[in-house]
Amino acid sequence: MRVAVCVKQIPDPATPYEFDSNNHLIVRPEDQVLDDTDRYGVELGLQLSQASEGTTTLVSMSPSGSMQGIRQALSMGADKAVIVDDENLRGADAASTALILAKVIEREGFDLVVAGTESTDGYTGVVPQQIAELLGIPALTFARHVEIVNGSVRIDRQTSSGYDIVEASLPALITVTAGAVEPRYPTFKGIMEAKKKPVEVLDCAALDVEPIIGQQIVSINPVAAREAGRIIEDDSSGYLEIIKLLEKIKVI
């Protein structure tokens, strides 16, 4: 099975994000990490392609920088990566991202597209569905369990009150929630091999697409911070402070 996995490099969420005051965009450092939510998609893609002696191709749209995040995913075991990096894509919206990724996926050939449910930095949460619409395939979303049954993909789809079992024939797209699989840690061998794996970097012209700018940010303002209250060191009477506050707000 040919599996295409959508991944994103993002600034390390453990560091404070900076914004460019001219265009309101996140300043992207040279070293970006693999979005943690994508590790589940990579793992699932690897499991499915390895079970069928297929291939796993990473597709991504972001400033490529040092490729740290992409190498991270390759070191888990993916075969190759195609990344679209173009100055004109700065500030492109979800539909542009989907258009670009769909073009790459179509060009590479696929049976199954795998993506996370949303990125940690932008979290629009509609790019996978947009890709499915562009490719004319079903989108089986929010999967917490995935299996291939007789050439069809079957998932447990997370719902607000439980889950539905949903099935469709391939080609199809799935989005996976954290917990669908346990992502593997790269081995030393995997890290060494990742350095030699093919990484293709393309621009918009190579794909013959134009980004769409469907929306614009007019302002970014700091929100009045919630005032931090009283912080106390517990000297084994801390619970009494909680009781006092519960009484004050009439919970007890």
Binding site: P13, F19, H24, T37, A94, A95, Y123, T124, G125, V126, P128, Q129, Q130, A132, E133, G136, I137, P138, A139, T141, F142, R157, T159, S160, S161, G162, Y163, D164, I165, V166, E167, A168, S169, A172, T177, A178, G179, I213, G214, Q215, V218, S219, I220, N221, V223, R226, A228, G229, R230, I231, I232, E233, D234, S236, G238, Y239, I242, L245, I249, V251
Partner: protein, 317 residues
């Protein structure tokens, strides 16, 4: 401009986000249209009417996954030439339909809206980085605009007293894209009050140490008659089901009291609970970001503090 609201029927009721959006739209639109997807119970239609819906287009997807047919139905109803506003909630099906519809209509998606204002243009506010910054976004072109609202972005208000007109929409055939089938549906019952509606929420994080210790959270929540929540780390570790998750990819709660136990307060968690009226946090790390939003922070060992608190509460009951 016409306002369209997406609604999905769950347990004979419309989604909470649909009732909230319908209520809000009353302030800027005289005729509110709803696409309601599901069985189509009388109770659902009545509730939508009571919140302000004038026309309800009802689509029964039967065993189809609703995303593709619902997007096709909305495409036909709205049209790419209109300047309509289409409002979705943040639910899974909402996001599926919104994504597909945006491609069909060539319309932008303004996501995670915490407020929408309609003057001479549509303006959407959302908060980023755990609510530290507020961003205002506008659509840049002409044509319809899709907005995905965060839970509780608007307040649901009854009393519109409208008997809505019900129009049946035929299930569109969208070919392979619409071929996903729902084979079976499973309800997982959660003990105690509903997390999103609860007045008191007690949540546990990785600081608890291991899965067994989550009982501390259950016990405290039950003593306070509150709902139980959890961080993504705890859900990912498999200690509790996803339905407990509070935060960016989980539920958004605004209870009058939120108790965060062993939670460091990552941005992704804060965005789901920081609007609670009173926040109490217990964590051993004095630098944990959760303390920056807490009314009362106890720096200490939760394995001491929570049992002592639970005992004291038990003595009072």
């Amino acid at each position: 401009m016409t306002t369209w609201i997406f609604s999905e029927e769950i347990n004979d009721a419309p989604t909470a986000s649909a009732l909230e959006a319908t209520s809000a739209a009353r302030s800027w639109d005289n005729t509110i249209n709803v696409l309601h997807v599901g069985k189509g119970s009388k109770e659902s239609f009545a509730q939508l009417g009571d919140h302000g819906a004038h026309r309800i287009y009802h689509l029964d997807p039967r065993d189809s996954l609703p995303s593709s047919p619902a997007a096709a139905a909305l495409e036909n109803l709205v049209g790419s030439e209109s300047s309509d506003l289409i409002l979705f909630g943040s639910g899974n099906t909402d996001r599926d339909v919104a994504g597909r519809l945006s491609i069909k209509l060539g319309a932008p998606v303004l996501a995670n809206a915490t407020a929408v204002s309609i003057n001479d243009r549509i303006e959407v506010k959302n908060s980023i980085l755990g609510g530290v910054l507020e961003v205002t976004t506008v659509p840049s072109g002409v044509g319809p605009t899709i907005v995905i609202a965060r839970p509780k972005a608007f307040t649901a208000e009854t009393g519109a007293d409208i008997t809505p007109q019900i129009l049946t929409v035929d299930l569109p055939d969208t070919g392979h894209a619409g071929s996903a089938t729902v084979i079976s549906r499973h309800i997982e019952t959660v003990k105690g009050p509903d997390l999103e509606a609860a007045d008191i929420v007690v949540s546990g994080g990785r600081g608890l140490g291991d899965a067994d210790k989550f009982d501390l959270i259950n016990r405290l929540a039950s003593l306070l008659n509150g709902a139980v929540g959890a961080t993504r780390a705890v859900v990912d570790a498999g200690w509790v089901p996803y339905s407990y998750q509070v935060g960016q990819t989980g539920k958004t709660v605004k209870p009058s009291l939120y108790i965060a136990v062993g939670i460091s307060g990552a941005m992704q968690h804060l965005v789901g609970m920081k609007d609670s009226s009173t926040i109490i946090a217990i964590n051993k790390d004095p630098d944990a970001p959760i303390f920056s939003v807490s009314d009362l922070g106890i720096v200490g060992d939760l394995h001491q503090v929570i049992p002592a608190l639970a005992e004291a509460l038990e003595d009072r009951i």
